[in-house]
Structures are given as C-alpha cells and as structure tokens.
Symmetry: none
Subunit: 192 residues, 4 copies
DNA sequence: CATGAATGAGGATTCATTCAT
DNA sequence: CATGAATGAATCCTCATTCAT
C-alpha cells in the first residue's frame, strides 16, 4: 500500500511481530491465529493486525525477516574481526548455538515457519553467507575440497536440527552439543 | 473402539493416509484440510475420513507411523546383512538418500509433520536406532569417541535438511549430495 | 412397514428401547444419539436401530409408550381392588412415588422426553385416568367440587416435578416427599 | 474476556437471546440451531452468534437468565407491598399465571430449557424465594406446618405443568386454572 | 490510527439413514 | 436379520478480513 512507514507504524508492526514470535514458539504456527497474537500483544482487535499487514503471509514473512536479521546481526557481532577461516567457522557455530540460548523463542519460531515463508530467498542468504566463508577457507588452503553450498546446507541443517531437538528435549546439554558440533564441522571440513 | 480392523477398514485407512501424504507433500500441512484430502482420495465426503479416523490428529499420527514404517523398512532392507560398522553407516546414508529419490512425497511429508506428531516417540526411535549403530562402531574401535545420541541427531538433521533443500531446489544433484554427506559423516566419526 | 412383528423383532425393539431409556436417563435426550444407544445396547451398528425403527421419532415414541405402559401397570397393580376414592388417591400417589424409587431411569427418561413425544395422547391418557378417579370421588361425595381434569394436571405436574427434583437432588427424602404430597392432595381435594 | 459489555454488545446479545426464545418456544430446543436462530434474528451468519456468545451453552444459559430475570421482576411487581402471607401467596400464583398469559414464549422456553441449564442455581433461587414466603406464613401462624422447600417445589411444579399443558392445549381456560390453582394452594397450606 | 462489530467462507465433526453383503 | 461401510446434510465454531465510527 504505502511505500514509507511512519514511526508509529513501525512500532506497531514490531510489536505485532514480537507477539507473533512468542505465540509461534509457544503454540506452533497452526495455533497462531490473529486472535491469539492480538491477545499476546495486548491489542484490542485483530483488525489492527490486518491494518498493519497485507495478510497473514505478510506477517509470517515479516517474522522471518525480523528473526533472520537479528540472527545475522548476532552472528556477525560474534565473528567480526576474525580472519582465520577455521576460527571464523568455529565462531560461527558458537554464535549460532549462543543465539539459541539467548533467543530461544526466535530460534524455535524460525524453524517452525521455514516451510511457510513465501520469500525463500531469506533462508538462502544464510546459506550463501556460510558458503562464502567455506569457500574462503578452501581458497586459503586450510579447508579441504567439498561443495561449499552443500556443506553450508549441512551445517545449517544441523543447527536447525539442534533447535528442534531443544524443543523436544529442553534439558539438552548445549555446551556439550556445541563442542560436538564444532568438532564435527572441524573434522568434516579441514584439510587433512 | 475395535481392537482389530476389518480388511475394508485397513484398505480405506491406507487410501486416506496415502491421499493425505500426497496433499501434505504438495500443499503443506496447513492446506491439508479434510476437504482437500477427500478430493485427492476420491471420497464422497469428509465424513468418511471422520468415520475412519478418531480425528485429524489421529490421521496425522497415522501418516507419520506409515511413513516411518516404510522408511525403516526401506533402510533396513538396504543395510541388512552388513556387519562392518562404517559400511553400515555408509549404507544407512545411501539408503536414506535413495528413499528421498524414490519416495519424495513420503520424505517431504515426514519433515513437514514432524512438529505436529503427537507421538514424538516415533521420531525418537529413529535416533535411537542410529545411535546404536554408532555406539557399536565405537565399541569395535573403528569410530572415534563422541556422544552417539548427539551424533545421531546431527546425522538425521542433515538428512532432514536435505529433504527440505530438495523441496526448495528440485534440481539438486542427489548423487553429489550423497557423496558429500557420506564423506562428512565418515570424516566426522572415524577414528583417526 | 410391516403390520406384524416377529418375535425376534419384538425382542430387538425391546432391547433397543431399554438401552435408549438408560442413555436418556443418564445423558439427556440431546446426547442420545443412535451411536450411544447402540453402544449401550451392545449392538454393532446403528443401522440396526434404523432397521427396527422408522426413525428417531419412532424410537422416542416407543420409549414413551413403553415407560407409560410399565408405569400404568405398576400403578394399577398397587391400586387394584381399592374402592374408597380417597384411598385410591392415596394409593395412586404412593404408587407413583414408589415407581420413581424402583424405576428411576424410566421416570427420569419419561419427563425428559415428554416434550418430544409425537403422540401426545399417551400423556393425556394418564390425565384422563386420574381425572376419572377424581370425578368418581366427587360423585361419591367425599371429594369437593373442582375441575377434575385440571386437578389431574396439577397432581401429575407435582409428580413430574418430583422426578425432576430428584434428578437435581438425589438425596431428596422420598418418604417425606410422599407424606407431604399425599397430605397436599388430601387437603386440596377432600370435602370439608 | 471483557468484564463490561459495550452497549452494542448488549443490544446484540439481547437481540439474539430474544430470537432464541422465539425459536425454542416455537420449535423446541433440539431444533434451535444457530442457523435457525440467526434467521429468526435477521443476522447475516451464525458466526455472529459465536462472536457474541462463548458457545451454545452460553447462549442457553443467557436465555435462562433473561427469562428468569423478567419472570422474577414481573412477579415482584405484582406482589410488592403486600404483607399478609396468604395474600402474597395468592398474588404470587396470580402473577405467575399472568406471566404465562403475557409472555407465553418466555414461559414455554423456560420449561423447555430447564434441563439444559448449566447453572441450576438459577432455577433453585426461585424455589428458595417461594420457600421463604411460605416459612414466613408459618411463622406468622396463618399457614400450617409443612416442609417449606418441598411445598415450594410442588407449587412451582404445578406452575411449570400448567405451562406445558398450555403448550399441549392452547385453548385452556387460564382464568379457571388460576382459580383452581389458588384454591389448591390455599387449602393445602392454610392452618385449619 | 485504533476499535470492535460484522462478515461469510471454511474448519472438523456428528448425525440419522441407506445399502450391499 | 445383522453388519459395517458409506453418505451428505447439518452441526457449532474459528478464521482472516472489512469497515464504520
């Protein structure tokens, strides 16, 4: 509709997105009706959601965009300045697991809506970024030869699987998981 | 209600389950209404689904049970008789990828409903079986020390991630993916 | 359909009617679906009910007929041979309350389906019989002048109200209720 | 949800309740589907009923509450200011019968839904109020000794029976019925 | 912008009934 | 006669969306 969003609009959208993340993490996508999201957000009407979003798909997409933005920002913060490729890789994994720890709802919601995202490109950008890191490691000679994109898919699949496993088993030892995860990627990628 | 199902009942349930698998693989869980499933199955009314299943959850669970049964059977067929642990592992991965190839709808539906299954135990039995294989490899000395259950979670996460990736990118080279997947697991698990 | 019922047919109908009485007394008319009644009767199919009854209304009517027949028979047994009008009246009330005691399900079901009976005449025959007794009492001079039919309606209303009250309050003292009921009718009808 | 209802909400609820009363009085509880009630109320869809009521039971309960409120108000208007217990009693009966006359649908609906009311307490409050009047009459010495609560049950049962009889026989002479009813209660309760 | 009432399509499920075996 | 599978209309209810205020 409108190209530019007013500040109020942005605040409202953010508020609704935050509520949606909570609800989806707690109850699942199927139960995340506008009614429940509005209640979670403390809104008095579901109409307000429809007013600020073009439709349910738009809201879901915004939720995905928001989570991926925070996720990316979080990971970049943790790996910024690191040069050595294997260190970047280890930092990447550690940052990913740390994000689950500190933003469990975001993480849980992300894997739950991945199938429903209209803009698949968002998810792909993740893969592309990691693939670039891997390729760089190969070029610098510390990583062995493999398909960087496929390896990125594998690594991110493990991360997502970890999030799902954490939903099933909240008692999971994340420190141990991080170590095993790091070791696995190290062994699987480094030049022997 | 009844402990034993009549043959007619079994056939109808199987027919409905098959239709549900098609629909979920094609349109997603959210779009898999009784109406669409009934049409896919060529049934005269949605009432027939309710007649044969206690509810939607019951149908979803049966779908999960059916897919996992076929999946397990398929993988066991391919790995039966193999003794050497690393060979079992390679066979396991190859069989898993082959299943995606030959039963893409089953695979796609499985990852889509995993979150919705009431009986999570089904999914867990997968993990337990693979963990047992890994533990055996450790005991026989060919695999290095790691947490077998966590490693099973990782391996199966990659498999599931591959299924999702295949939904996003149907042109994915599965042969190459199998090779990379096998190499990754080999490097990550074998004793150096 | 058929004019004459075979013995088997009669037995089946009676069995279904008995089950319906149990279900309606326990769960109410609204919950008395063919499915529940069939389960209560130990039948394997609701089709059997449809086979033996022209429709749900037919079943309800048969239930009403059956209960009223037993009720009438029960009351007549207890008042047979009594001549003196006030004694008949007292016996009538005592018999009615005794019926509640010994056939609570029948009684409860009767008041629950009264609104739904197609053949209202059944309920009316009750009123007519009691009105006749009252008229006889007036003719013999022991009862005062009043509209016999209205008085019959009143007395039977109290009886039905007692059944409903018993459903609400199972601890109700029926002996005390019988005494109060008898006294009320005595005072209200006898010639001063 | 909300503690206070908006005026619009109150109006709509009242409109739906009024329609439900009409439908139940005309067709019975079993036929009173949301569809029929919505048509009676001139609503565009049954969804509007669900929007304003938590469920069918909520609507039924509101119907009961509404009728009893009007009934109580009506009777209190007619007996207010009367002191002498027997006069109160006569006034109570007259007011009850007058209510049937002027609010036949309300009365008819009330007896039809009495079994279905979730909040039985509503019906009981009626009994308690009448029992209090009777007890007062006993204390002042004009009424004989009897169980006030049981007598209240009896009197209200007659009233309800009268409503049912009026449904069966619309030609019933209500004036005569009032006289007989009043006489009965007078004879049954006064000290001799 | 926000509200909440209204809309109507679509959801799963229950129902009495029919019918082939 | 009995069975149980099938039918399809009808049930209540939820949903995202619209709109007047």
């Amino acid at each position: 509709m409108r190209a530019n969003k007013t500040p109020t609009e942005q605040v409202r959208r953010a508020q609704i997105v935050a509520a949606a993340i909570e609800v989806i993490a707690r109850d699942g996508v199927a139960q995340a009706s506008f009614k429940v999201i509005a209640e979670q957000a403390g809104l008095s009407s579901t109409g307000l959601i429809s007013y600020h979003f073009a439709g349910k798909q738009d809201l879901i997409d915004e939720v995905g965009r928001e989570i991926l933005a925070r996720f990316t920002e979080f990971v970049l913060d943790r790996t910024d300045g690191v040069e050595e490729p294997t260190a970047v890789l280890r930092g990447f994994i550690a940052a990913n697991v740390d994000f689950l720890r500190t933003h469990r709802n975001h993480a849980s919601t992300l894997v739950r809506i991945k199938n429903d995202l209209a803009t698949v490109d968002l998810a792909r950008s993740d893969q592309a970024a990691l693939a670039a890191v891997l390729r760089q490691g190969q070029n610098s000679g510390v990583l062995r030869a493999f398909d960087p994109h496929l390896m990125a898919v594998f690594v991110l699949s493990i991360r997502d699987g970890l999030i799902r496993q954490l939903d099933l088993d909240p008692e999971l030892d994340l420190d141990a998981a991080t170590r095993e995860f790091t070791t696995l990627v190290d062994l699987a990628t480094r030049r022997t």
